[in-house]
């Protein structure tokens, strides 16, 4: 097994991508990986925000049209991810953080599929109808596991003790920001009714 992984890492293709710094190799593959992530997580996040009622003004059904862009983002990420993994597959195979990232991606994709199924199930539902509780549940699961996947991806390059400290710091900062965002969103949803009463 070890020999097989080493043969991938030392292949002509992996060596070329790893040792050619900018265009068209390593940094470009890395940039494409970031583009894929931004579209996959960013646009599926938009659907989740609507499903969770954070942006209720967005009509639900047309959001289904984002799926091709989300799927494209996924495949760009998957392709570039395979290339980036092949560059250091031996060390990745011993890196527990890498497995956490991959597992989080799998769960997030399953949750995205489930959210899509439940959110767009009722074709006759009006555009401003709240999403079903199942869709909301899967939207939360998806956002949480995208958070883990992005965090895991950033931390793969660091030593284990730095990873653990950084994950804790990110979790604390994210919880604080989430509380602030919840407060601001609730306040912004409340203000129109206050204006209406005035």
């Amino acid at each position: 097994m070890q020999q097989f992984l080493e043969s991938i890492e030392n292949s002509a293709f992996s060596t070329y991508v790893r040792e050619t710094p900018a265009w068209p190799a390593y940094s470009t593959v890395l940039a494409l990986h970031t583009f894929g992530m931004a579209f996959l997580v960013g646009l599926s996040g938009v659907i989740a925000l609507r499903v969770l009622g954070v942006v209720p003004e967005l009509p639900l059904k047309p959001l289904k049209k984002l799926m091709p862009m989300i799927i494209l983002g996924f495949w760009v990420n998957a392709g570039t991810g395979v290339i980036l993994t092949s560059l250091a597959i031996v060390s990745f195979s011993r890196n527990w953080d890498f497995y956490v990232k991959l597992s989080a991606i799998v769960v997030a994709i399953v949750a995205l599929t489930k959210m899509r199924t439940y959110a767009f199930a009722d074709e006759s539902a009006p555009d401003d109808a709240p999403a079903s509780p199942e869709a909301r549940r899967w939207a939360k699961v998806m956002l949480f596991f995208w958070f883990i996947a992005v965090l895991g991806g950033r931390l793969t390059a660091y030593a284990t003790n730095i990873r653990i400290q950084s994950a804790a710091a990110v979790a604390v900062a994210a919880i604080l920001l989430l509380l602030l965002a919840t407060y601001l969103v609730r306040r912004s949803h409340r203000s129109p009714s206050v204006e209406a009463r005035v």
Binding site: A22, T34, L66, G153, S166
Partner: protein, 169 residues
């Protein structure tokens, strides 16, 4: 001027903080990425709607996502400032020298500036109010589409050059 910039750009307290707390740099990196995701989810989504994707959505509703995009941009600027002012924690160079010599960082700044000018053009040309009237299924004016395409191109360029910065160090 050079001396002023050298002094102003270098924050020893930030560099010392990053060196002392090893989680600070990865924390900044992670939030920089969250910021990128929010930027594309907010601004990118708005651009895609103007370009004709998910046309059944009224533009006024999609506009509600823009504060998320702006928040993402602010997060990226805040974490980016941390990377620049605390450069010396990772590289034995002053931030001024890094900015002066790193072509990718310079291109990133240029693209951010162009994205700002593009946004200004969106308001100055009246496209801002023109697209607000677009209902479900309606096409944006050609100029708005050009501005949206430029916006998407410029932001992706910003991400691209950002990823190339370590190559120039």
């Amino acid at each position: 001027m050079e001396q002023f910039l050298r002094t102003w750009l270098e924050w020893p307290s930030v560099a010392a903080f990053i060196q002392r707390f090893t989680w600070a740099w990865p924390l900044g990196e992670t939030f920089h990425f969250f910021g990128i995701i929010m930027l594309i989810g907010g601004v990118g989504m708005f651009d895609l709607r103007l370009l004709g994707l998910a046309k059944q959505m009224p533009v006024k509703a999609v506009r509600k996502l823009l504060p998320w995009g702006v928040t993402g941009f602010v997060i990226c600027v805040a974490t980016g400032l941390m990377f620049v002012t605390g450069t010396r924690a990772n590289v034995p160079m002053s931030p001024y020298d890094v900015i002066k010599n790193n072509i990718w960082l310079q291109l990133k700044f240029v693209f951010i500036g162009l994205a700002g000018l593009n946004l200004l053009a969106f308001y100055v040309t009246g496209m801002d109010s023109a697209v607000d009237k677009l209902g479900p299924g309606e096409n944006a004016p050609m100029l708005a589409k050009v501005i949206a395409a430029a916006s998407l191109f410029l932001w992706l360029g910003v991400i691209y050059f950002g990823r190339l910065i370590p190559e120039g160090l």
